[in-house]
Symmetry: C2
Subunit: 233 residues, 2 copies
């Protein structure tokens, strides 16, 4: 398997390139617009054909690369069925499987950070978007976020995965690249709560400022099919 | 196996934490002083005992965490036998094997970036320090660097490893995290030369400015055994 974790340093976003072998089909998760040239170059270098570009949710901190990748590679764009990005070509829901040659991602619907958040499970690993971060969880105070829903997504879905499952998030701000479900269960300070009420109270106390790019990124990402360039925003 | 790639964003350094299992012995490669608290926390969270801290070479762009890790964990500090960091507790040379419980690193002596540069080979992967970077190679214009030696280290040692060997460098400045020997052979612009003379000429044309921290980091790293804190420099 080809597996590449790629970092965008302005928004501290991790994107992922997956393929079963050189010369085969590829899939990208959470691509960032500014890095699309790099993804295209890497696809060419590894002799891969991009067939699907997938976002875990409508991002508020960067502009998605989905539109540009679709325009340049004719790949299918994939998001959860609840997304407000309304020209996505494939909408997935809990239990669906996103397939490319030799690989498949099982969809978990995990609202909380946003109401369109999904996580994608593949064999020994899970792509957790902003639902579960390394020693953190995604904020729940905008874009129809809900700490109550996120508690359910975390405790009744993600943390039910095998403890050795590798956790690959959409962001990390401190230099970590990967974790495991077991490690987050034991060491993630946000997960050491005894009830949904305690989690809701914890998230309610965070009092975060809005992401710098939010006013640009959210409307741009809703119209990802209409524009592949930052310049138009 | 536990394998963690950890990023330090100021000097864009990758450090690596290796262990065969939770509760066992661990080894760290190219630790950065400012991240030592994080390594110690992660070791505790994963129930690991650090027994060896290894540098690939005397770094000029950041202060090594070897001294602080030794002071805090009593681990053995390891570098190549040519290093000027003269109070390292274990000096290794070509063909040596650095072992911890369940894991071993085979030493390749790979001068060129510096005259003390080593790479460490473990099963399916190689830690290349600044000898081989993703789509680049380490500069050769200071610290007894030699483009001629680096050509030999690259073409007669690293590129002789199996093509599928994963390449984990000490730095990346563009968001890549891993590559392979085969990919670098084919796609690394510095490796598309036909002779040692061509490589020497290419490296001679780079004309790079010195790393910002060089005047601090090199003397600090030479005395790593005497000081574990930046404050003393």
């Amino acid at each position: 398997m080809i597996f590449r974790q790629l970092f965008e340093s302005v928004s501290c976003t991790y994107s992922y390139l997956l393929a079963s072998q050189r010369g085969g089909e590829a899939l990208v998760i959470d691509p960032v617009l500014e890095k699309v040239d790099r993804y295209i170059q890497l696809l060419r270098e590894l002799d891969l054909r991009l067939v699907k570009a997938v976002d875990t949710h409508l991002h508020a901190d960067h502009i998605t690369g989905l539109g540009a990748l679709r325009d340049r590679t004719r790949c299918i764009t994939v998001m959860g069925e609840q997304t407000r990005a309304d020209i996505v070509s494939m909408r997935v829901s809990e239990g669906d499987r996103i397939e490319i040659e030799g690989l498949g991602l099982d969809v978990l619907y995990t609202p909380g950070h946003t109401d369109d958040s999904c996580c994608y499970v593949m064999a020994d690993r899970v792509f957790t978007g902003d639902t579960l971060l390394i020693r953190g969880t995604g904020r729940t105070d905008f874009q129809n976020g809900s700490a109550r829903d996120q508690y359910d997504s975390l405790f009744n879905k993600l943390l039910k995965l095998p403890e050795e499952t590798l956790v690959y998030p959409a962001h990390d701000y401190k230099g970590d690249t990967v974790s495991t479900i077991g490690e987050e269960k034991g060491c993630n300070p946000r997960l050491q709560v005894r009830s949904v009420e305690e989690y809701v109270a914890l998230m309610g106390r965070l009092n975060l400022s809005n992401p710098k790019m939010m006013d640009v990124a959210v409307p741009a990402n809703m119209l990802l099919a209409l524009s592949g360039s930052v310049g138009e925003w």
